[in-house]
Amino acid sequence: MKVNLNVKRFDPESDGSTRFQQYDIDMPENSTVLDALIHVREYVDATLALRCSCRSAICGSCAMRVDHRARLACKTKVTDIVSDEGQEITIEPMGNMPVIKDLITDMEVHWSKVRQVVPYLRPTGPPPEREYIVSNEAMLDVAGAVNCIQCGACVSDCPVLEIDKSFIAPAALAKAYRFTGDPRDGTKKERLEMLSNVEGGIWDCTRCNMCVEVCPKDVRPMDRIMQLREQAVAAGVKTNTGVRHGTSFANSVRRLGRLDEMRLFPESVGMFAVPRLLKELPGAFRMLWSKRLMMWTHAIPFAHKPIPGIKHVRRIYDQARSEKKEHSK
């Protein structure tokens, strides 16, 4: 099978510029992108630098951008990317991190964030005589996060991290869930408060699903972040706008059966957060004016008409919430 790689090269010992280099090689059917890159390095161009080791998606070394998306090269077949033989495959280093050489990045960006979430179990109380007694369900629940191999693919492609370097980013947050979800850890609330209130914490995730999409190990980091938010709310961590936003949203749907976007904002920011609200006023007026929206419907509560089946929606709410209460007892 003809394979045509277009590899982004960077040699820190030359003039510091990047360039793309083409490698046209022959590979067996079923080859992975890593097989192809190793072939290049071994037989075509020994100066090509990349990290790789296990070849089976366990060690996490070979994350890189293949066809503009972070993937493990060892888990990506050439035919996953191209449908026609010889079609070009673009290979680049991961994003959101400095490049050291060719496809090798400096992952300290990631590891510093891992350290930020206090990445080790902190039991409180006297140690047990033998093992901690915990349910298998609890262990399986955090197993999804433990499955993370710290390859950095989600860090590479996280759009929030792109614009805000303080964001703890998906992998480290998934790691955080591995501890808040572990019944053996005695510092759950402390962790959740930190994760809620710190700059770049759990409420800064935009829920864009990019990390879920690129994760090669089905860790679904964003889902872990959502679990962290749920835990934070349940633990009574209430200081954050994000918590109020969720409450306001849900209440709106309970009241009307649908969302009232115009009330969402003041309720999320906090009705008494006057300076912030004033800052938003021009934007709100701009929209109301240009869209010719009826201002009074938004100014007066309950002016929006509920949907016909609102009583059923409210019943569903009350049922779900009473069950949840029951469950948490």
Partner: protein, 565 residues
């Protein structure tokens, strides 16, 4: 170019290395840890199935020890096995307390699965990612230890060790290449612990990661530490065709069948009681026999999990299901997966005692790089993770304790210069058509042909000749990359040198041992011969040639018996 000093230097940051570091820190030592990859990239990750310990009231350390010794085909030193099995329970609990999310039973206590060669279910596990789960927890503990500041612990990531420093008697530390800058440094230490893992890449295919190149064995050998039982190379019964990627024994532990081309569970012929859960050497030979006698399918037999509960596969074997889909295009829930025996593990290695000390003062070894010997002729599944943590801890403690009595060594001024010249000479070699990768490939393929599951005098002699030729080719192979930053070409060149040393020792061991025991099966000597060969083979390097020594196996309470499953 700089010189660093530590009480204890640990080379390799897999499970054995990190466990050693934590133990040495517990003793108050100042520690340096060097690894050619980030610690969580280490090959301990690849251990899928579990870790053994006799914890249940219905089990005992003696039974675990007996299974281990029988599995070793009575080549294991029984005093070492006793340590391994007696300390297993406490170590397992320590791992759980550190945060490993071991599988639980209905009462929330640790739950087990069955594994090959064991009479009792004593394998504790995290799905089929046990090694990864433990490795990452160990790294968490390293992070915690570094933050605690109890004693200095410095981790040098992506540093490649080029040589051990010796004054002709003691090991004084190591010379290293900082892969990121290309600079050479020396790290001096009162005690140096090798935890560099195995040499699996000597073979092609192999379950081992590309980094498993026998670095520690070769470097220790070069300063006079003896290698022991190097011929004992485990071939795992279930590896994927082509790539050699591992499919856990846990699959059979959970009830998977092995089928030949007739759809028969052929293990009934070879191990009527244990069936698929006989020890690995037995199962691998059975598979190879089926394949050789024409009952294979394209060089493979089949591993069948279709009868297992789908939920069980999702909860306990999720990773191999993914590997099957990604690398073989087979969903094990729906189809049997073709597998074959493949190179997996080195039972042999640097000779150590139960403290991790090698015969070279100041040099310690633990984990796969070492031969203590708890695995003898054949390692039981789920005993390797146990080996790393038990003997990693012991080596860490021993090196830290010994360090209290010793002054910091001084290396001769010429050390760095000599190493630089050696590497520069490699870089300056004239260009030719030879490729490092081609020599490595030829080595792997020929080892797989001549020194795998079945061995013969002819094949081994042929391989010995082949290695001579490969070594000659290696003397002139050029390093094409001349750069300093991440010159991986240079690294591969150095690794190939390590691999060739290991291969030479493996073949010499296999030629010497004229019997069949454990992983060493000689078609020309098909019987185990306790009268002559109940002993270890030690190979010691010197510039004049390799010296052969023997050492009797330590027997405590289990007299060798016939081995059936």
């Amino acid at each position: 170019m700089a010189t660093f000093q530590h009480d204890v230097l640990i080379i390799g940051a897999g499970l054995a290395g990190m466990r050693a570091a934590l133990a040495a820190q517990g003793e108050g030592a100042d520690i340096g840890v060097i690894s050619k990859v980030h610690p969580v990239r280490s090959h301990s990750n690849a251990a899928q199935g579990g870790i053994n310990a006799a914890l249940e009231a219905t089990d005992s350390w003696e039974e675990h020890a007996f299974d281990t010794i029988k599995g070793s085909d009575y080549l294991a030193d029984q005093d070492s096995v006793e340590v391994l099995c007696k300390e297993a329970g406490a170590e397992l609990i320590a791992l759980e307390n550190m945060g490993v999310i071991f599988n639980r039973d209905d009462q929330g206590k640790l739950g087990t699965r069955r594994f090959g060669g064991a009479k009792k279910a004593r394998t504790y596990f995290v799905g089929d990612i046990t090694g990864q789960a433990i490795l990452h927890v160990m790294y968490e503990q390293m992070t915690k230890a570094q933050e605690s500041g109890e004693s200095q612990m410095k981790v040098y990531e992506e540093w490649f060790v080029t040589s051990l420093i010796s004054d002709g008697e003691r090991c004084l530390g190591a010379t290293v290449l900082d892969m990121r800058t290309g600079e050479i440094h020396t790290v001096l230490a009162k005690g140096t612990i090798l935890a560099t893992g195995g040499f699996g890449r000597v073979y092609e295919p192999s379950t081992n990661a590309l980094i498993c190149t026998g670095d520690g064995m070769s470097m220790a050998w070069r300063i006079g530490a003896p290698l022991m039982d190097m011929e004992m190379v485990q071939h795992h019964p279930t590896t994927l065709k082509g790539s050699g990627v591992l499919i856990t024994e846990g699959a059979r532990g959970e009830g998977a069948y092995l089928l030949n081309s007739d759809g028969d569970r052929f293990m009934k012929t070879y191990a009527p009681n244990a069936m698929e859960l006989a020890s690995r050497d037995v199962v691998s030979r059975a598979e190879q026999t089926e394949i050789n006698e024409g009952r294979g399918i394209d060089g493979c037999v089949l591993l069948d999990m279709r009868h297992l509960d789908e939920k069980l596969i999702h909860e306990r074997l999720w990773q191999i299901r993914e590997l099957g889909i990604d690398l073989a295009g087979v969903d094990v829930i729906k189809e049997p997966i073709p597998i074959q025996p493949g190179c997996h593990y080195a039972m042999g290695g640097i000779k150590t005692n139960i403290l991790g000390e090698t015969p070279v003062p100041g040099l310690y070894a633990a984990g796969e790089v070492a031969c203590v010997s708890v695995h003898g002729g054949n390692r039981l599944g789920a005993n390797s993770l146990l080996d790393t943590v038990i003997f990693g801890r012991r080596a860490g403690v021993a090196a830290a304790e010994a360090g209290r009595e010793i002054d910091m060594p001084i290396a001769p001024d010429s050390t760095i210069e000599g190493e630089q010249q050696k590497l520069q000479a490699l870089l300056d070699r004239p260009a030719n058509d030879e490729k490092i990768a081609r020599i490595r490939w030829d080595l792997g393929i020929s080892m797989d042909k001549n020194v795998a599951v079945f061995r013969s005098a002819e094949g081994l002699d042929e391989q010995q000749e082949e290695i001579k030729k490969l070594k000659a080719r290696y003397e002139t192979v050029p390093i094409e990359d001349k750069g300093k930053v991440f010159n991986t070409d240079l690294i591969f060149g150095l690794e190939l040198g390590y691999l060739l040393d290991c291969a030479e020792a493996i073949v010499l061991g296999a030629i010497t041992r004229t019997e069949s025991r454990g992983a060493q099966y000689r078609v020309d000597f098909p019987e185990r011969n306790d009268a002559e060969w109940l002993k270890h083979i030690l190979l010691t390097y010197s510039p004049e040639g390799i010296r052969l020594d023997y050492q009797p196996v330590t027997i405590t309470q289990w007299e060798p018996k016939e081995r059936t499953y």
